[in-house]
């Protein structure tokens, strides 16, 4: 039960398998396929019960595990017959490909972890913008105010602002700001939709404050659950529109 909320925190089937291997203290080079398959299927079922969208990769892995499990059953009988414990040499081991992938993925998971540490260390040092050296320019340079600058440098500058913006909520304000109650935000959204009929989902996110973003998102989910708003999206990744339910419009 306590695992049920964890599911979406996995980066994919390999990550989930690594977690199971760690939790059950399994030797990655000698995986008890029956056990791991059962545990894995439990997770998938829980996900489905929670009505979470189970990504196709998880289902493909489930099929792979089941295939390995059935293959493992066949040679096992031969082992008993010949009384040879090492019958499953590496070439025949149906687990080989999976183990190779797990070991490879684990390396990069570790590398990602190392990068994260470096990122954290880097975030603890502060610097400043380069100084404006315009006053040191001579007249000849002043004739070309944009030497060595192209329109694409400008575009890159714009990208940099956006990259920074989400994180740039001044801490002082964060402390002073009142937490926005979800109910308040729900009321605001309903008001919004009443006046404008329908609204683009993206237009609800007017500030870069994380608090505001999260509360808005939760408010929309809650409104959808209580059927106070309806959402419509024509294609994947296209704009989502939010509007009042049809019966209320009449």
């Amino acid at each position: 039960m306590k695992y049920s909320v964890k599911i979406d925190a996995f980066e994919g089937p390999l990550d989930l398998l690594l977690h199971l291997i760690g939790t059950y203290e399994i030797d990655i080079y000698d995986i008890p396929v029956a056990v791991i398959t059962e545990q894995y299927m439990n997770y998938i079922h829980t996900m489905q019960e929670l009505k979470l969208d189970v990504a196709s990769e998880y289902l493909v892995m489930a099929a792979t595990l089941l295939a390995i499990k059935s293959k493992m059953l066949l040679p096992k009988q031969e082992v008993l017959d010949s009384d040879d414990q090492l019958d499953l040499d590496e070439d025949d081991d149906p687990r080989e490909d999976l183990v190779r992938r797990l070991v490879e993925y684990r390396k990069f998971k570790q590398a990602a972890h190392d990068l994260k540490e470096k990122e954290t260390a880097r975030s603890m040092i502060f610097t400043r913008e380069p100084m404006d050296l315009t006053s040191y320019e001579n007249e000849e340079e002043a004739l070309n105010p944009v030497a060595n600058v192209t329109i694409y440098d400008m575009l890159a500058a714009m990208q940099k602002i956006f990259a920074k913006k989400m994180e740039r909520v001044p801490r002082k304000t964060t402390i002073e700001r009142q937490e926005i109650p979800i109910e308040t935000r729900m009321q605001q959204i309903i008001q919004d939709i009443r006046t404008s009929g329908r609204k683009k989902f993206s237009e609800l996110f007017t500030t870069s404050s994380r608090e505001h973003l999260v509360v808005t998102f939760l408010a929309v989910l809650e409104l959808m659950k209580t059927k106070e708003v309806e959402c419509e999206q024509e294609d994947n990744f296209s704009e989502i529109f939010i509007y009042a339910p049809k019966e209320n419009e009449v």
Binding site: N144, I151, A163
Partner: protein, 195 residues
């Protein structure tokens, strides 16, 4: 002893990160959580360190704010740096401000500062003096703030026929940062579900 050396070092760092905006004694005292008198003593020591050594920059006070600046006697070196072919003539701050103006004109200084998150007076001065931006009128409402826009010379220097020729802003600039937040949404959402 040891502690005051540490505090002096922090003051040095504070002046450094405050950049061209500078920082006043009150703010230093708040950050260090010491009295104004203590800050003054430490600051005096730091100023002496910089005066006595052979250093590349100095600390000046403008209207109560302290900031690092280059030394006048090194001017010839900075002129050479600026004249180097590899040197870009617009600072990052100026470039960012110019980008915002180009895509969102007409726009007030306050709106630019809202996007950049920092004071933008200096970059706007630079851009004006280079003739890349100009005042385009006044905003409605109280205050009647100046509206900025790009000039004809801006188009010429970037080889654009009109503003329509500006490359479109990449969509994923926005998507990317929102995707980052998705994890947070999800974990918050889960919390409410568990309640």
């Amino acid at each position: 002893m040891k502690q005051s050396a540490e505090q002096k070092a922090v003051i040095e760092g504070l002046i450094f990160v405050s950049g061209e905006e500078g920082i006043d004694k009150k703010q230093m005292a708040d950050v260090l959580q010491v009295s104004l008198t203590e800050v003054e003593a430490l600051l005096e020591e730091l100023l002496n360190d910089y005066r006595s050594g052979s250093r590349g920059m100095e600390i000046i006070e403008i209207a109560g704010s302290y900031q690092f600046v280059t030394k006048r006697e090194h001017a010839s070196y900075y002129e050479r740096l600026v004249a180097a072919p590899s040197h870009t003539s617009l600072s990052q701050a100026a470039l960012e401000s110019l980008a915002i103006i180009a895509y969102k004109q007409p726009i007030t200084r306050a709106e630019i500062e809202e996007v950049r998150g920092v004071k933008t007076e200096k970059p706007l001065q630079t851009l004006s003096s280079k003739g890349l931006i100009a005042e385009m009128g006044r905003a409605e409402g109280t205050g009647r703030a100046i509206l900025y826009g790009t000039t004809k010379s801006f188009l010429e220097h970037f080889g654009l026929k009109s503003l329509e020729e500006l490359p479109p802003l990449p969509e994923q600039v926005n998507d990317g940062s929102i995707e980052e937040e998705a994890d947070l949404f999800f974990s918050k959402f889960q919390e409410t579900m568990d309640e």
